[in-house]
Amino acid sequence: MSTPKRIVNALAMPVVTLVVLQTLCLLNGQSVISNMKSFDNFIVYTAIVMITTMALSINLNSGRFDFSLGSMAGLSCIIGAKITYGILSGGNGSAPLMLCISLVAGVILGLISGLTYCTLRLPPIIVSLGVTLVYEGIMYTITGGKYVMSEVQNPSMSGLTGTWVYAALIIAAVLAFMIITFDKTAFGYDYNALKSGQKVAVATGINEVKNTLICYGISGGLMGIVGTLNAARNTTINGGQLNFGSIAIMFTAFLPMFIAGYIGRFTNEKIGFLLAAVCMSLLNSTFAVFSNSVNATMQSIINAVLLVVFLIYLNNNDLIKRLLKA
């Protein structure tokens, strides 16, 4: 496929999404993104979806299902918020410091999760169930089950998501990091080899445990960023998520992950994550526009139907083409 054709194919999905949703909005006298504030929110949400989807896919692409993403995001940003507040008391520089601490805490939590998996050698889905319960329990114990509010309510934190600039910088940094790490380093080559053929890759001498630990570490770090962005955006962190209350965040990443997989046929998969996140963020902005007529129940149903319809298309592409030709 030629490069221009690849670019057109890669951009087709977000462009079609924008056109369809904008038309819907225009028919009702509105716009998907009506002002600068809504644009800020759009970019912030794009960053959250893109990073969550990347964190999910790092392990899922290798057949490792991880339910603990939400609990890692929650616990890492609670740690970040508490330490930051202890140092700066909500003063200047709180947001960048919290972002850094949450990132480090996320990496550590991810490594613990990965280490548990590699040590116990149980299926990753089972380990992630246990790890989720442990992290939720710790989160609850630290916060007493309460919302964390005063630690994240300060001008620095509201500034983080108050403009699109920081979110855009984070998107660029994460994207660059992911492309370099997974496409240009020895770790990345090993990762791809293990992803495609675990047995052969291990037989050729690739250190699977080391590679896996790095994957979990990166995934945890990414969720630390997501946790901080969510904390800044929501101005609270819910510390009372017990009994798998934290896993919902993972389900929001399924549709963009499949969309990214599709776009990834035409371009770098990581760019696919960004474009898929743009699609999801456009949909979210449209839901916000129609929030008075499309309630949360309807939004859930629409998201679920889109997921199924897209997968039906993706998995029956040839059949659909044959039917259309006939």
Binding site: P124, I125, L133, G137, Q198, F251, L307
Partner: protein, 326 residues
């Protein structure tokens, strides 16, 4: 004694560990309840009621897990079946029609998952994620619309009171378990499901249609959902948006706790859900009694999760692989 024989004995002992864990937990439970001077007869009844619906729905779900996939929508399906049961009773005042509706909805919801998965070649897990959202949303819409100021919908408690006794419930559990046991152990369908789960390619090459057994597995799970929904209504004749909310993820825990590998196949065990369900509830009740739960919900969950991982680690020794499991 030859090495092979030694290994066999070791494997036999390990496979008995889940039931040993159940017996140990049961013994500890008896001691803890007695030491605290609580009424053992009543506490046993409570444990039975708490574990019953989980064990029933999870036993049905074993068929799905045997195929090497899993269903995350079981809690939502149980909620939806119970909701439709209550709606049917309130429209018709007929207990028989209510029971028919509950089972019909349970089986249909489950079948829809399998049809989407089999006909459209979508990974069953993804269809169940979508189904979870749709069924929860639909149930919430119905419950809040018709429940109004009461916050839930209900049938008169006299209707199900005759069924809310341990003898009847135990009889239902044993009958359902016996049917599942028979299908799983003594029919061609049961054996083929294990074959498909263990090695889908080989199974296909020998002429076994995986889609047929996927549908059958989901039907069995649907019967479990229907029975679970009926038993839920027997216990509390009202349905709120959170009814059966704890079942969904606990099914994972129950099945794995019972000694079944999450990958399904030949090592699948029909009794795993029953053992695991009761073990998990006993464990939680023991911790609740021993630790002052009102001060340490988080700590209780952490201990429970660590114990879960430890038990699964030991019980999975029979199928440990050199490569990291996926």
């Amino acid at each position: 004694m030859t090495d092979k024989r030694k290994t066999n004995i070791k494997q036999k002992l390990i496979s008995l560990l889940p039931i040993a864990a159940l017996l140990v937990l049961f013994a500890v439970f008896l001691v803890v309840v007695s030491i605290n001077g609580y009424r053992l007869d009543m506490y046993l009844k409570i444990v039975f009621n708490e574990a019953l619906v989980l064990a029933v729905v999870a036993t049905g779900a074993i068929f799905i897990y045997t195929l090497g996939t899993f269903d995350i929508s079981l809690g939502a399906s149980t909620l939806f079946a119970a909701t439709m049961g209550v709606m049917t009773y309130n429209k018709t005042q007929s207990l028989i029609l209510m029971i028919v509706a509950i089972f019909a909805v349970g089986i249909t919801a489950s079948l829809l998952n399998s049809v989407l998965a089999s006909v459209f070649h979508i990974p069953p897990f993804v269809t169940t994620v979508a189904m979870m959202s749709v069924l929860s949303a639909l149930s919430a819409q119905i419950i809040t619309s018709y429940g109004g100021a009461l916050g839930g919908i209900s049938i008169p408690s006299e209707v199900v009171k005759p069924f809310d006794n341990i003898g009847f419930k135990a009889m239902l559990l044993i009958a359902f378990f016996a049917i599942c046991f028979f299908v799983f152990q003594f029919t061609k369908a049961g054996r083929r499901m294990k074959f498909v789960g263990g090695n889908p390619i080989c199974a296909e090459l020998t002429g076994i249609k995986a889609s047929k057994y996927t549908i059958l597995a989901f039907v069995m799970a649907g019967i479990g959902i229907g029975l679970g929904a009926f038993l839920t209504l027997c216990y509390t004749p009202s349905v709120t948006t959170t009814t059966a909310s704890s079942i969904g993820m606990n099914i994972f825990i129950a099945i794995v706790f019972g000694g079944m590998p999450i990958s399904g196949g030949a090592r699948s065990k029909i009794y795993a859900a029953l053992i695991g369900g009761f073990s998990y509830i006993l464990l939680n009740d023991i911790l609740e009694i021993v630790i002052d739960s009102s001060a340490a919900y988080g700590i209780t969950q952490v201990i429970s999760a660590v114990f879960f991982l430890a038990v699964v680690y030991v019980t999975s020794m029979n199928y440990r692989t050199a490569l990291l499991p996926r």
